[in-house]
């Protein structure tokens, strides 16, 4: 049965956030229909005409996904130490962090915590696309490892929603090392027999795909999500060939055998709940 949340976690309430640009109407980038914005929001930020899944912030996703007010964040105030003292052009990494904190309302590119989905307790990690493109630096790696530890300690399933441009180059080899670090943590979790559901959302590329995101016991993708190792532009520039239609989409990954299933946003809750039930020991 549902465990009571431990009191050491500071509670954290989520308000739905606006994701669409201002104005009442918006245009779907996939089918180019003009859409009434509140209708899209009511539809979980999915185009009612063509099922295009809009990118959503971590907080919005948690709001859609978990039982009301059940998400309790941990390590919410962990911040990067800027290990390289990275400067570029006339700005710095520290400044980028500040800007993106304002833009996204989050302190880092991943939120972790304990939550309930349809009454089932689980450890949830969700990546934030509006914070340095959801890239993985030391804090994201550390948070994910902490989530793995929590899942192991409490013997709960771990669900990770990836949404990332890859490793965070502003942290150099420190961010590259996070790939090894998170994969090592996943190896421990795997040895301990815990269930890891990895959900790939648009976009999941680079160092995140090439580490924990591809190590799920079960890998789910959202329809149409960009999933791959190298970015499409890098590939096109390297081989100098037009990329085929639908290359590196969730459907492409399904066809080539790298994801288990594609699940619509509206079905995600019930699908995860069902998987957790099936995998109970």
């Amino acid at each position: 049965m549902a465990k009571q949340a431990k009191s050491k976690w500071n509670g954290f309430s989520l308000r739905p956030r606006k994701e669409m640009p201002e104005g009442l109407w918006t245009k779907c980038p996939a089918c180019e229909h003009m859409l009434y914005k509140s209708a899209v929001e009511k539809n979980l930020n999915v185009c009612p005409e063509c099922n295009h899944h809009f990118r959503i912030s971590a907080a919005t996703r948690i709001n859609y996904l978990t039982d009301e007010d059940s998400f309790q964040q941990v390590l919410g105030d962990l911040k990067t130490s800027d290990p390289l003292g990275f400067k570029f052009r006339d700005t710095t990494y520290k400044q980028r962090i500040k800007d993106d904190e304002k833009k996204s309302g989050e302190k880092e590119a991943m939120l972790i915590g304990k939550a309930f989905i349809k009454g089932r307790p689980l450890i949830l990690a969700v990546m934030e696309p509006n914070f340095l493109m959801g890239s993985m630096g030391a804090v994201v790696g550390e948070k994910l490892c902490a989530a793995v530890d929590m899942a192991m300690d409490e013997k709960l399933p771990l669900v990770v929603f990836s949404c990332s441009g890859g490793a965070r180059m502003h942290e150099g080899v420190v961010s590259l090392g996070q790939m090894a670090k998170t994969s090592a943590a996943m190896a421990r979790y795997d040895d301990s027999g815990g269930l890891f559901i990895s959900v790939l959302t648009d976009p999941t590329t680079g160092g995140v795909t090439a580490s924990f995101a591809m190590l799920g016991d079960c890998i789910i993708a959202e329809p149409g999500a960009l999933i791959g190792f190298a970015g499409p532009r890098t590939i096109a520039e390297t081989i100098k060939v037009e990329l085929p239609e639908g290359f590196q989409t969730a459907e492409f990954m399904l066809e080539h055998g790298f994801v288990d299933m594609i699940v619509d946003r509206k079905d995600m809750r019930s699908e995860i709940a069902r998987l957790i039930d099936y995998c109970q020991k």
């Binding site: 130490s81 290990p83 390289l84 990275f86 400067k87 570029f88 052009r89 630096g137 030391a138 790696g141 550390e142 490892c145 490793a167 965070r168 180059m169 502003h170 942290e171 150099g172 080899v173 420190v174 961010s175 590259l176 090392g177 996070q178 790939m179 090894a180 670090k181 994969s183 090592a184 943590a185 996943m186 190896a187 421990r188 795997d190 040895d191 680079g206 160092g207 795909t209 090439a210 580490s211 924990f212 995101a213 591809m214 190590l215 791959g228 190792f229 190298a230 890098t234 590939i235 390297t238 081989i239 060939v241 990329l243 085929p244 290359f247 590196q248 080539h256 055998g257 790298f258």
Partner: protein, 358 residues
């Protein structure tokens, strides 16, 4: 013996070695003169040589990050094939991933280094154009990583330590590579190498290009040659994204802290193997010898460690990447305390020997 020309010709000088090149030219002219005219210029030549050595010392003790990248990419830098020839005795190559094919960018096989049998996994770039095309300029495809993995599993089964030699610009970004799951192949390697029950030594001998390097770069030790580089993204790629101009690569290289010196300071690599004066390409034998010496010494240490402790140390080494030194120390003591506690518990739970009946 294949030609391991470490003779530096006039075209092999890097653009920051102008003075060295000039001295080379002067010495050659003097040699030519002395053979034509029969005059003895040996003392002048010796003087020039001395000057050249000092110049090389001066240049190579203060290389910028971008210059280091150029040295790491030098066309005459020793490659995997040189290490296999000079360092690994009785090398037996193992081919194929048992699934798709045999990626020539990654070479795997059994051999002997010093007195130890080892399993070598290395990335090969190829020396001439034909070789380069065959091994895809050192950019592995997924089947390369999968080959590396099943061979390392083989080594694990027979308790053979693994030595990986990293030298790649990066994993290949191609359509086929994506179709066959480049990301999944690398991810699987990271996970399995973190728990492989034999010692693993990873040595970056040239270019350590991002995930492509890491795909065979997880182990008990990660070390670099002095003028190798190891980076999360190529300086050109980083410049194109953050500077919006690929020609700003020298600035990007500086900012990325990709040299062995910087990475040692950041505690991201365990040691730096020195290169001969003027870089590895000026003396292949000494370079390979330094690497061999490191491997032999380190294997002796690692083989003395119990496998469970080895894995525990490896795990905490990986877990503390990017963690502040204070936090790292706290964890180390915590882990140590837990290990002692577990050992004590084990002693106490041992069944007491039943006294034999008299």
């Amino acid at each position: 013996m294949p030609d391991r020309a470490n003779k530096i010709n006039s075209g092999d000088h890097l653009d920051f070695e102008q003075k060295v090149a000039d001295l080379d030219r002067q010495m050659n002219e003097l040699r030519k003169l002395s053979s034509i005219k029969g005059i003895d210029y040996s003392s002048e030549i010796r003087q020039l040589q001395k000057e050249q050595v000092n110049e090389l010392k001066r240049i190579y003790s203060n290389l910028t990050a971008w210059q280091t990248v150029q040295v790491a990419r030098h066309p005459k830098r020793p490659l995997l094939s040189d290490y296999l020839d000079l360092m690994v005795k009785d090398f037996r190559e193992f081919h194929g991933d048992r699934c798709f094919g045999d990626d020539r960018a990654i070479v795997t096989g059994l051999g002997q280094i010093g007195r130890d049998r080892v399993f070598v996994v290395g990335q090969n770039k190829g020396r001439n154009t034909k070789e380069k095309v065959v091994c895809n300029f050192g950019c592995p495809n997924p089947e390369g990583y999968r080959k590396a993995l099943i061979k390392m599993k083989f080594a694990e089964k027979y308790g053979i330590p693994v030595v990986t030699l990293i030298d790649t610009p990066g994993a290949y970004p191609g359509i086929g590579a994506e179709e066959r799951g480049q990301a999944q192949a690398i991810a699987a390697n990271l996970q399995e190498m973190s728990r492989l029950r034999v010692p693993i030594i990873c040595i970056c001998i040239g270019e350590g290009g991002s995930g492509g390097a890491l795909g065979i770069g997880v182990g008990d030790r990660l070390v670099m040659l002095e003028f190798a580089y190891y980076s999360v993204i190529s300086p050109e790629g980083c410049a194109a994204i953050l500077w919006r101009d690929g020609s700003q690569a020298p600035h990007a290289a500086e900012a990325l802290k990709l040299t062995s010196k910087d990475l040692l300071k950041l505690e991201l690599v365990d040691a730096v193997i020195p290169e001969p004066l003027g870089g590895a390409h000026r003396n292949v034998h000494d370079t390979v010898y330094n690497v061999e010496k490191y491997i032999v010494k380190t294997l002796r240490d690692l083989k003395r460690t119990k496998v469970d402790n080895l894995l525990e140390n490896r795990y905490w080494k990986l877990r503390s990447i990017g963690v502040s030194p204070a936090e790292r120390l706290r964890r180390k003591t915590l882990a140590g305390r837990e290990r002692i506690k577990a050992a004590i518990d084990k002693i106490h739970t041992k069944p007491k020997p039943v006294p034999a009946k008299v």
